[in-house]
């Protein structure tokens, strides 16, 4: 058997694939954060809580309204996105122009409140959600068994990343958004309703988190703490990629997934730490992150 550092090659192939899957997930979540930071200058600490809401709305749609997974992929992000719009209008908007720290504290507080309320209502051990019947089963790749659902997650996440990147980088809407970040008064002078644009951008970023939540519901335990477990890694991804850089978060998300996957084979105890080791190294060498522009 071919081995690398004492581990069978076939096992490594499997781990690389898993790393890629987790990476897709990190990319999708950090994308939402990057969009929000890039265009609103808000460090959205509520992202994990909103991701969790996405999963819970998916569960609720099935439980109370008998609406299955596929419609939920569209409906849940819209519902949670609308909630994000309300959050932005009521609270976040008032901090416009203040230091980042205020936005961070506010959204962190929101996250605690949302998670606390959900825990009070649904308990901490979580609720069940099954894999949709069309995606049950697995592909035999020779070196590993890849569940169909995981394959779908990679495809869906990658597609969503691509679409978001295209919209922001290649369309007129994206150009307006980027212009509004650079010089809001000037864009407003051209007749663009910048506050509304900002609100909708926040809603879209939140929608991305909720979309990831829908994808996560069948594979992870749907419980009120599910977001806070992930959010720290996702923040590290954004910081490594360069705050606000869309492409940076996508590339870093996939990269970190793979590094983490390999660590799980060679030194599993360190798999939660390795992301931060990478972060420290990157920040030492490139303080603005891999794809960030120095301020």
């Amino acid at each position: 058997m071919v081995t690398i550092f004492g581990k069978p090659l076939l096992l490594l192939y499997g781990q690389l694939t898993l790393g890629l899957i987790n990476g897709a997930f990190y990319a999708l979540l950090s994308l939402g954060l990057a969009v929000i930071f890039g265009l609103l200058n808000v460090i959205n600490f509520a992202h994990g809580a909103l991701f969790m809401l996405g999963a819970f709305v998916t569960w609720g749609l099935l439980q109370y309204l008998d609406i299955g997974y596929w419609p939920a992929l569209v409906i849940a992000p819209i519902i949670v996105g609308a909630f994000g719009v309300v959050l932005e209008r009521l609270l976040i908007k008032r901090l416009h122009g203040l230091d980042h720290l205020y936005g961070l504290l506010l959204t962190f507080g929101c996250a605690l409140v949302i998670e606390g309320l959900m825990r009070n209502q649904f308990g901490s051990s979580g609720v069940p959600y099954a894999i949709p019947s069309a995606l049950q089963g697995a592909l035999h790749l020779g070196f590993m068994v890849l569940p169909l659902y995981r394959a779908w997650v990679v495809i869906a996440a990658a597609a969503m990343c691509l679409v978001t990147w295209l919209v922001i980088d290649k369309t007129r809407l994206g150009a307006t958004l980027r212009a509004a970040t650079e010089n809001a008064p000037l864009v407003q002078a051209f007749g663009v309703n910048v506050p509304r644009l900002v609100t909708l951008t926040y809603g879209a970023g939140v929608g991305l988190a909720a979309f990831a939540g829908v994808l996560a519901a069948p594979m992870n335990s749907v419980n009120p703490n599910m977001g806070s477990n992930l959010i720290i890694v996702v923040f590290a991804t954004v910081v490594i990629g360069g705050m606000g850089s869309i492409l940076g978060s996508i590339v870093t998300g996939f990269g970190l997934g793979i590094i983490e996957g390999l660590t799980k084979v060679y030194y599993p105890e360190g798999s939660a730490t390795v992301v931060f080791v990478v972060m420290v190294i990157v920040l030492l060498v490139r303080p603005a992150g891999l794809f960030g522009r120095a301020a």
């Binding site: 499997g14 825990r119 901490s124 992870n220 477990n229």
Partner: protein
């Protein structure tokens, strides 16, 4: 002049009533019970407010004559320093006489240290570590419901006997996980089984277990032993199903609340060990029926049942030795608990051993198929009952310092 005389008389009269009131307060002293557990984190459902509800249920049923009983509760956030801090404050300043529950082994041990130092009663029902009746034991500590030894012996031993003789462990990288793995390994090896490998994963902070599952699969082991708890166990099992793992899964610590969170579709066929299940016999059903209206979404598990049984038994001991003696010395109260046989609806008749361990039977359960389940929370089939003398670690092996062998 007249006015000041009146004032003087009035003051004297008021002062005269004071000692009388104090005597009256002494007449009906209050026993204070503090439920200390996780009320906002991952172990909220396995302990949490339901533990306090069950303690209050015991207080209501005991209906103390001659003294009052008050139940208070607090959140230790699974942090040993916070837990020990609250315990100190409760024992020293708030007049708490007995602390109850305290899940999370690290916190459970920290509070045990405080109880020992202050000679106060401490009934732990929530922590897994067998050290509470082993090297960290104390004459004022009772451990009731489960520990790592009992789980390892029941689930581990039975699995090897039924053909699962090669194991791979996925273990949470902290005291509890390692202790559970070590003890399970001993039973697996003693029964002629082999451990082929293990992965210790960072706790908390791991949500994806697929990598470890693939390693388990590659090892060729017949049994996957999960030495973790709560959402980690739920995630491991959910993802093992997703990856179509053919190995048997032995969830070394799993509560009925976790089965509820997984759903029977995913959880069916799992084996696990608890010392209480609501549908064991008419008495357990009667207990559950009394408690359920107060906690409709969270049915009692073995920790909750032990909060009820432990409180009831403690109050019986207080009744016997008198409130003053019980308030003065936790050791005296616990000694009385050991002297009286226990009898309650949740665990039936049992007793508390010299080292503080509640000697109740343990049950190996298999999770039912969805088609076998007849109603809400109808989850378990009993596969094996271990009588108390076989369920728990023998007294001599525990190395509890104050037990004279």
């Amino acid at each position: 002049m007249q006015l000041s005389r009146r004032l003087l008389l009035g003051t004297a009269a008021a002062a005269a009533t004071l000692p009388v009131q104090r005597v009256r307060a002494q007449d009906k002293a209050t026993i204070k019970i503090g439920v200390l557990n996780d009320q906002s984190g991952p172990y909220r459902d396995t302990g949490g407010l339901t533990s306090a509800i069950c303690a209050k249920q015991a207080v209501a049923e005991f209906n103390a004559q001659g003294f009052n009983v008050e139940v208070i509760y607090a959140d230790h956030q699974n942090k040993p320093d916070i837990g020990a801090g609250i315990a100190r404050q409760w024992y020293d300043r708030e007049g708490v006489d007995m602390i109850l529950d305290v899940p999370t082994s690290s916190v459970g041990l920290a509070v045990g240290g405080v109880a020992k130092e202050k000679d106060k009663a401490y009934i732990n029902t929530g922590a897994a570590t067998a050290d509470l009746t082993g090297k960290a034991c104390a004459p004022s500590i009772v451990h009731w419901s489960y520990d790592t030894y009992m789980l390892a012996k029941s689930t581990g031993g039975a699995t090897v006997k039924s053909g699962g003789d090669t194991w791979y462990f996925i273990t949470a990288d902290y005291v509890f996980g390692h202790q559970l793995q070590e003890q399970t390994t001993r039973f697996v090896q003693a029964a002629g089984g082999k451990v082929l490998g293990s992965s210790a994963y960072p706790f908390p902070g791991t949500t994806d277990f697929s990598s470890f599952l693939l390693q388990a699969q590659a090892s060729g082991a017949k049994v996957l032993g999960l030495c973790n708890a709560g959402a980690d166990t739920v995630n491991s099992i959910k993802q093992a199903k997703e990856f179509g793992l053919q190995t048997r899964i032995a969830a070394m610590l799993m509560f009925i609340t976790d089965v509820h969170a997984l759903g029977l579709d995913v959880a069916q066929g799992l084996t696990l060990t608890e010392s209480f299940y609501w549908d064991l016999n008419p008495r357990t059903r009667a207990f559950t029926d009394r408690v359920r209206p107060k906690t409709p979404n969270n049915w009692p598990n073995m920790i909750h049942a032990a909060c009820y049984a432990g409180t009831l038994h403690y109050l019986k001991a207080v009744q016997q030795i008198g409130v003053a003696a019980a308030k003065k010395s936790g050791t005296a109260a616990v000694a009385a608990m050991k002297a009286i046989p226990t009898d309650d609806d949740a665990f039936g008749k049992a007793y508390i051993r010299e080292d503080g361990l509640a000697m109740v039977p343990s049950y190996l359960f298999e999770v039912k198929k969805p088609s076998e389940s007849k109603g809400p929370w109808d989850f378990y089939k009993t596969i094996q009952v271990s009588p108390p003398d076989q369920a728990w670690r023998p007294l001599a092996e525990g190395a509890c310092p104050f037990v004279k062998s």
